[in-house]
Amino acid sequence: MINIALPKGRLGEKAYALFTAAGYGDGRSDIGRRLSFRDEKSGFNYFWVKPSDVAIYVERGAADVGVVGKDVLDEDRPDVYELTDLKIGKCKMCVAARADFKDDFSRPLRVASKFVRSAEQYYSSVGRRITVIKLNGSVELAPILGLSDVIFDIVETGDTLKANGLRVIAQANEISARFIANKAAYKFKRDIISRLVKQLDGVTEND
């Protein structure tokens, strides 16, 4: 028996569809307000948790395994195993700015982002001094109102950027959903977790 933490929302539903295709679920993600359910056939327990909390549940052992975005892993750096790329929820971590933006290298670049650590790491890798402004949402507003020069954020289709007069000026890295495991749980439940990884890989490769 293993406990699986899935992110609430679209990504979690896509992930559960993968588990179902791999033979570990019944495909029903319409669970109403229930936060946990059990797949009787496999004996797996599933929990729906806030996407940014999945890694916490897994790191602390409340869930043995889970599905989490690479953006969360890069930002929070939990002490977990990242066993496979599920190749769903694909998007890009990008730098975006107003169409008329021109970098002024004589001063630190003001970067608005929810992903402070990732932004710092990216700009450190390209050798640019920055000041990060931590925002929790509607990041696109920051350059429009002059709060920041650029934003560092996830871009899926680019429609929100376009609607707000912003454009991508650099791409940091690619994001997708990852299958993670608690390090101690992996030691004691390795056979079942490894089998699950293999079957999920089989399903994602066939897609």
Partner: protein
């Protein structure tokens, strides 16, 4: 069972484990090392990566910046002077650091073994055996992972990775993340080293299979002697030992085998150690060292002891106090845990209560 007149069955699991472990280490001829006083904060700030992000609590006294000890090994290494002789030590100390899986500072009990001086294969195997017996003492289900810092370092050097790419490759190894390593591997100078590094991530954990997989190109990539060392250590107890390079070990401190112990029911490693000659070198000492620490406080926090409950309660009031005190003493002399109380109330099932009606007979 009695130790100096104390009933060990009345002790908490943490206390029982500590007694058993100290007896174990003494049975191997190890002597207890007691630390005293505080350390200068600089001891920890200069060696922050050895602390693995566990944090330091510091305070100032008379112009000196001191720290509550977050770790014991650094103090032992600083204070022990093993010149021409080998010290085999164990300790049982309180440390003050962020507990595993928590951002909060805690006072935690840590027990460990350190051998400093001339370290040969026999000593290394003995320490590994003690690590296994330590885990066996505190858990029914346990695994001791073993890795080799020298193998990881040689493959990283062979790939020619530096800076961010080297850190990314190390992170991929520690997270068993082979899919992202393949992107890092594009920048590698020599693909055979990258191929061997991927093996470290995806290796079977069974010692025999892991050694066999790494043996194929060991001579080519120059890791044969390290692999022989790993193979010898992993043979100590193949049933409870696994080869797993994800446990890492900071290359600035560890020079050879690295251990990490996991016990069933605990979501993080409860034992950690290895061969740390490089740490001694940082302190200007030429001797070698090997040891491990058991995070007893964190381990015991994951399990609950039965709540303390006396075997008997002797109740008294103003007129019966003298009689009650005598009765309590008499019962304690019979080996019972006795609570003397001025409150007449329900003390729970199975607790014998004396004196509620002013009577103290059996």
């Amino acid at each position: 069972m009695k130790i100096n007149g104390i009933r060990t069955d009345s002790l908490k699991s943490e206390e029982r484990a500590a007694l058993a472990l100290k007896a174990l280490y003494r049975s191997y001829g190890y002597g207890e090392y007691k630390l005293s006083g505080f350390e200068d904060y600089s001891l920890y700030s200069d060696n922050s990566s050895f602390l693995d992000g566990k944090g330091v609590l510091s305070f100032g006294v008379n112009g000196r910046l001191l720290a509550l000890r977050p770790d014991v090994t650094l103090s032992v290494v600083k204070n022990v002077n093993a010149i021409g002789a080998t010290d085999k030590l164990f300790y049982d100390e309180r440390v003050y650091r962020k507990a595993a899986g928590s951002g909060e500072f805690s006072e935690l009990r840590q027990i460990g073994v350190e051998v400093i001086g001339n370290i040969d294969g026999v000593t290394e195997t003995e320490v590994c055996e003690l690590a296994l017996k330590t885990l066996d003492c505190v858990s029914d289900g346990y695994i001791l992972d073993v890795s080799h810092a020298g193998i990881i370092e040689k493959l990283l050097n062979g790939m020619g990775l530096t800076g961010g790419a080297r850190a990314a490759a190390t992170a991929c190894l520690q997270n068993k993340n082979a899919h992202d390593f393949l992107r890092v591997a594009h920048d590698c100078r020599d693909s055979i080293f990258a191929d061997e590094f991927v093996k470290l991530i995806t290796l079977p954990v069974q010692p025999e299979a892991a050694i066999a997989a790494l043996s194929k190109n060991a001579a080519t990539v120059g890791i044969q002697s390290e692999l022989d060392e790993l193979s010898r250590i992993a043979a100590t107890d193949p049933k409870h030992m696994e080869i797993d390079f994800s446990i890492g070990g900071d290359a600035d401190y560890y020079s050879g085998v690295v251990f990490k112990g996991f016990t069933r029911g605990v979501p993080y490693a409860t034992l950690s150690g290895g061969r740390y000659d490089k740490l001694l070198k940082k302190f200007g000492k030429s001797s070698a060292a090997v040891g491990f620490a058991l995070y007893l406080g964190e381990l015991c926090d994951c399990f609950s002891d039965a709540p303390d409950r006396p075997d008997a309660v002797v109740v008294y009031d103003r007129t019966t106090a003298e009689q009650a005190v005598k009765k309590a003493a008499e019962l304690r002399a019979r080996g019972l845990n006795v609570l003397l109380s001025g409150e007449k109330r329900d003390y729970g099932d199975g607790v014998k209560v004396y004196g509620t009606e002013g009577e103290y007979g059996d």
